[in-house]
């Protein structure tokens, strides 16, 4: 049994919140659409709750404050890059202060369906300044574990098409102008996103999980790793 880490923020943190009060566990699952994130998280919640551990879930574009406005703006594709970036940061901050922080203080396990890394990766592939992003997301607490579900773009395209019969505009990075064809654009964009995640992995040290495998195999690995994080109490 190793000693529990003392919680800290990536940067300046948030006013009136002492990171040391943030007990609980913050576990992040990252990955593209079609990487099996939702399935894995549902399984994990089920497993944690049946073993008597209180959990709370958060994710992108789920805040009370701006999720509706953000969705609307994205539909119309009317916002410029910095604006969209700050809008997502607002969405994140709202959930951070109203859900994540209170839950951690109360000793809950917070399962985050994507975190600042996806937001940063999206902006990095669009040429935004890394220093600017790091400062902006200095409000985020460092999680106890981050799993990146890695799936080859060719496999992602198959999973997305079999589920929705179409490829999402943003998940295909159509705004970047890689290709007019959504199929080609999707492959190029997802490859770029994987590249960004691999670069960030060096800084943030997250766990890359091979999610080309069956859902069961992935879940087994996640449970094993999460168990060892929870044991450090």
């Amino acid at each position: 049994m190793s000693t529990p880490k003392i919680r800290r923020f990536y940067g300046h943190g948030i006013p009136r919140v002492n990171p040391e009060e943030l007990g609980g566990k913050l576990i992040v699952v990252e990955g593209a659409d079609g990487s099996g994130r939702s399935t894995q998280i549902a399984e994990l919640v089920n497993w944690l709750e049946t073993s008597g551990r209180p959990t709370v879930q958060v994710g992108l574009k789920r805040s009370t404050l701006v999720s509706a406005e953000l969705e609307k703006a994205q539909q119309g594709n009317v916002l410029s890059r910095t604006t969209l970036s700050l809008f997502y940061a607002t969405d994140f901050a709202d959930q951070l202060e109203n859900i994540i922080v209170p839950a951690l203080k109360a000793g809950f396990i917070v399962l985050s369906d994507r975190y600042i890394y996806t937001l940063m990766a999206r902006d990095l592939v669009r040429g935004m300044d890394e220093k600017w992003l790091k400062n902006l997301y200095g409000i985020a607490p460092v999680p106890d574990a981050v799993f990146y579900l890695s799936v080859e773009p060719e496999e992602l395209v198959q999973r997305n098409l079999s589920k929705n019969a179409t490829l999402d505009y943003w998940e295909s990075g159509m705004d970047l102008g890689f290709s007019r064809e959504v199929f080609d654009s999707f492959l190029k964009y997802q490859a770029a996103m994987q590249g960004a995640f691999k670069t960030m992995q060096k800084t943030y040290g997250f766990d890359i999980v091979d999610a080309n495998r069956s859902a069961n195999a992935v879940n087994k690995e996640l449970r094993k790793k999460i168990s060892s994080v929870l044991d450090t109490e």
């Binding site: 300046h12 948030i14 600017w132």
Partner: protein, 249 residues
């Protein structure tokens, strides 16, 4: 932080800053009217006015949902939207852009609310420095009286009630405004504010404002070619319409 002139923008940006009740909005409005009358390409932009972000901001304020962090970020989003979609293209097109409040409002308010100064400044670092920033400095009592005269209903965040300075909104407002003023004064030199005497009468202030603007900016370069030239296709359309109207008559 470089100014738009230093970044070789053809346009120029003028900002006014100061407390509520310092008289800045009146002055920039009168400046706008003058520039328009002079035939200058001018655009006016107000703090917190982006169409897309507005509904989220007002929801947050009404329900008192905002923390210092989300308050700061939602205003940064609003500013970024106006900056990227209006200010930048207009400045590229050689406009004089007038801003009632600029990033310094966020620097002053958000830091007063407890946000780290470096974090706030970093978030706004995409914005260039105005070519002229006029800071309207009125005595705190003068500003307060202008706003509090008639005891209006102060809004929760406007009065800084989220800071727990006082249970009385009027008292809270006074303390909050005092702290914001200190923040403004602290950055005045760093960002080259030109301090205007907000206690002076309005007409006299406007004379000074106009003089300052014409000294700092070569206004004749920003004149609109008059009358506004129409693209060729529209000329033709107009002639055709007129002919058809003749026929109808």
């Amino acid at each position: 932080m470089k100014s738009f002139a230093e970044l070789n923008f053809p346009g120029r940006l003028i900002a006014v800053e100061g407390l509520d009740g310092s008289g800045k909005s009146t002055q920039i409005y009168l400046l706008k009217r003058w520039l328009e009358a002079e035939g200058i390409k001018v655009y006016f932009s107000e703090w917190n006015s982006s169409e897309i972000v507005k509904s989220a901001t007002s929801k947050g304020k009404k329900r008192e949902l905002l923390t210092p962090t989300t308050f700061s970020l939602i205003h940064a989003t609003d500013f970024a939207d106006r900056y990227e979609r209006h200010l930048l293209p207009l400045l590229r097109a050689g406009y004089i852009v007038l801003c009632d409040r600029y990033v310094f409002t966020a620097f002053a308010r958000d830091v007063t609310r407890g946000c780290p100064p470096d974090w706030v400044r970093g978030n706004y670092s995409f914005a260039a420095r105005p070519d002229l920033t006029m800071f309207f400095k009125a005595d705190l009592e003068v500003s307060l009286n202008r706003i509090l005269e008639g005891r209006p209903k102060l809004k929760f965040f406007e009065a800084g009630m989220d800071l727990n300075l006082s249970k009385d909104p009027y008292e809270s407002f006074r303390i909050f405004q005092g702290r914001i003023l200190d923040q403004y004064l602290g950055m005045s030199q760093e960002f080259e504010f030109v301090t205007m005497d907000g206690n002076m009468n309005i007409e006299k202030q406007q004379v000074i404002v106009r003089k300052l603007v014409s000294e700092r900016i070569d206004l004749k370069k920003f004149k609109r070619r008059s009358p506004l030239p129409l693209p060729p296709s529209l000329h033709i359309d107009r002639e055709t319409t007129e002919l058809e109207e003749d026929k109808a008559a």
